[in-house]
């Protein structure tokens, strides 16, 4: 029973549950996305910018601050989504038994997991919007192209939420999350064309970086922020969609294997 894939819009109820909890703690949840860009922009803008002269990015000269500001957004999208479906979902599943309680209702496991992933994407989109407001006030985002960052945050959020949930289905205990963070998230944070252009890397590393979803999310967010929407961006967009379409079923399968006995 319920071996078949069974999903209805009831997953919204799980999303709603997480949103209710978030509403109680919004004052704390709102702080990091508002303050973080200020810290980063201060550190890089005041501290590092004077060491870095303008350089060429996609054939145009660019200063360092407008280069990294969109990358901060992409990184925030990644972190918010990934940490929500890894640590936070694991706590709900393993320590709080929240999923067990949900499965005693007409909700299916697929709906619970979909609700969790959708919530993580929502949370990262909220964080991205807050951060974007601060960065916009610094005059670092070009409009109206900058408005496309919100749907990108939702898509990027889904992709990183789904891969986070894949790991939640696999890890034996909460400490094991250190492994994907050390081997996957941190290298992405550093080598996805976030803090320096990919062309500074050796060719083989440039190719390797194409595997990282953050590389593509950074390219897309940066293009929107700089107001330079070009056709080749569709490749990066397609990559994120395909990445989600592969990791989402994997996450559902892994969690079913883990929880349903």
């Amino acid at each position: 029973m319920m071996r078949n894939f069974s999903i209805s819009v009831r997953w919204m109820r799980v999303w709603q549950r997480n949103f209710s909890v978030y509403r109680h703690t919004w004052k704390i949840s709102f702080l990091p996305p508002l303050l973080e860009p200020l810290f980063y922009l201060a550190a890089f803008g005041i501290g590092l910018s004077s060491l870095v002269s303008n350089f060429s990015y996609r054939g145009q000269e660019i200063a360092y601050l407008p280069f990294i500001a969109p990358a901060l957004l992409a990184i925030t999208i990644m972190y918010n989504a990934f940490f929500e479906t890894s640590y936070a979902s694991f706590v709900r599943m393993y320590y709080q038994k929240t999923f067990d309680a949900m499965l005693a209702t007409p909700l299916t496991l697929e709906e619970v997991i979909t609700g969790e992933i959708a919530w993580a994407a929502t949370k990262s989109a909220i964080a991205a919007v807050l951060m974007q407001i601060v960065i916009s006030l610094c005059g670092l985002i070009h409009y109206p192209e900058g408005l496309f960052i919100l749907p990108l945050a939702a898509l990027g959020g889904l992709a990183f939420a789904a891969i986070g949930m894949v790991f939640t289905g696999l890890v034996p205990n909460i400490e094991t999350f250190n492994l994907p963070i050390f081997l996957f998230i941190t290298p992405m944070f550093l080598f996805s064309g976030t803090f320096f252009p990919l062309q500074n890397l050796p060719t083989w590393a440039q190719w390797l970086a194409q595997i990282f979803p953050l590389t593509h999310l950074t390219i897309l967010v940066r293009a929107c922020a700089l107001g330079r929407l070009e056709l080749p961006l569709l490749g990066s967009l397609a990559y994120l969609v395909v990445f989600f379409l592969i990791t989402y079923p994997l996450a559902l399968r892994g969690m079913r294997k883990r929880l349903i006995k």
Binding site: M1, R3, Q96, M102
Partner: protein, 303 residues
């Protein structure tokens, strides 16, 4: 009469281990039915199949005459489940726990609020509505779990060890509420380790061991049938007593220093034994369901 639960040759295997090994029983409307057995007997595995959490390995399961394998969503809308572990939502207040749970059943906001208020009142939690879960006592948590399992106004309530770990006051309070629900016509399936609880609440019950059903019947009937009217315990006992009892054809069990006699009919037996072996070593008490349970499932530890 249509049954609320019909279990037919139900099986659950985990690899080579048979957790549930072909059990059958039916539960009628407005009945309280007990599922008893030592740890590892297969009670929780059975319950998990009943509410569609675990896939069925073999056999059939009907709830409200609907086949759970295919009609699970409709069935799950009509049952309330009080799980063994405490899995209240610690991120939400007492009241929000109920309101959030109501949404999982797609209750309308107005229905959810009305039912929540009624249940908080019924379980004497109305003055705790805004409290966080961590601040609740064990008894209050249990009552909230029970309240939560009734949020969809179920036609069947499944209770997996509802009073484990409660102090006697809390336990009696839970029993009173369950009796009220039962008198209101609610069908209940109960698993428990407390024989007193089963004897008090259950109209009928089964005792399970190693995935199979050993006996089925009404509590008092099972006591009469398997143990008798009264129990005489002698501790410590003398070896010569054993021959004496064997000669009289009486049923007894020994464990450690203690001898337990199942007395069916012999009215003068206790007086006679007290006279011979000393009144301080002999105790007379009515036979209970616990005696039946230990008699049928043995006294060795299940770990």
């Amino acid at each position: 009469m249509p049954s609320v639960i019909a279990v037919k040759n139900l099986k659950k295997a985990f690899g080579a281990f048979k957790a549930v090994d072909g059990i059958s029983f039916t539960v009628q409307k407005a009945e309280c039915f007990g599922l008893l057995g030592p740890n590892g007997a297969g009670k929780t595995s059975t319950i998990r199949m009943l509410y569609g959490y675990s896939p069925i390995s073999d056999g059939e399961l009907y709830l409200f005459d609907q086949r759970i394998r295919s009609e699970w969503r409709a069935v799950k809308n009509r049952i309330g489940i009080c799980q063994q572990e405490d899995n209240l939502d610690p991120d939400l207040s007492v009241r929000d726990n109920l309101l959030t749970y109501a949404r999982y059943f797609n209750l309308t906001a107005a229905d959810a609020r009305a039912t929540t208020d009624r249940l908080l009142d019924f379980f004497a939690l109305d003055n705790r509505a805004k409290t966080t879960i961590r601040e609740l006592s064990g008894g209050m948590k249990r009552r909230l779990v029970l309240a939560r399992s009734l949020i969809n106004n179920p036609d069947l309530l499944i209770l997996d060890e509802p009073t484990t770990g409660l102090d006697p006051q809390s336990r009696h309070q839970v029993w009173e509420r369950l009796e009220e629900l039962k008198n209101g016509g609610l069908t209940i399936l109960l698993t428990t380790h407390y024989m007193e609880e089963a004897a008090r609440l259950c109209d009928r019950l089964v005792i399970m061991n190693q995935g199979r059903i050993l006996v089925e019947g009404q509590p008092q009937e099972l006591i009469r049938q398997y143990v008798g009217r009264e129990i005489i315990e002698i501790a410590p006992f003398d070896p010569e007593l054993l021959t004496c009892l064997q000669n009289r054809g009486l049923y007894f069990e020994t464990f450690g220093q203690r001898l337990v006699i199942h007395n069916q009919a012999d009215v003068g037996l206790f007086a006679a034994l007290s006279e011979v072996f000393g009144g301080r070593r002999c105790t007379l008490r009515p036979a209970t369901l616990e005696d039946v349970f230990l008699h049928l499932t043995g006294r060795e530890l299940r770990e």
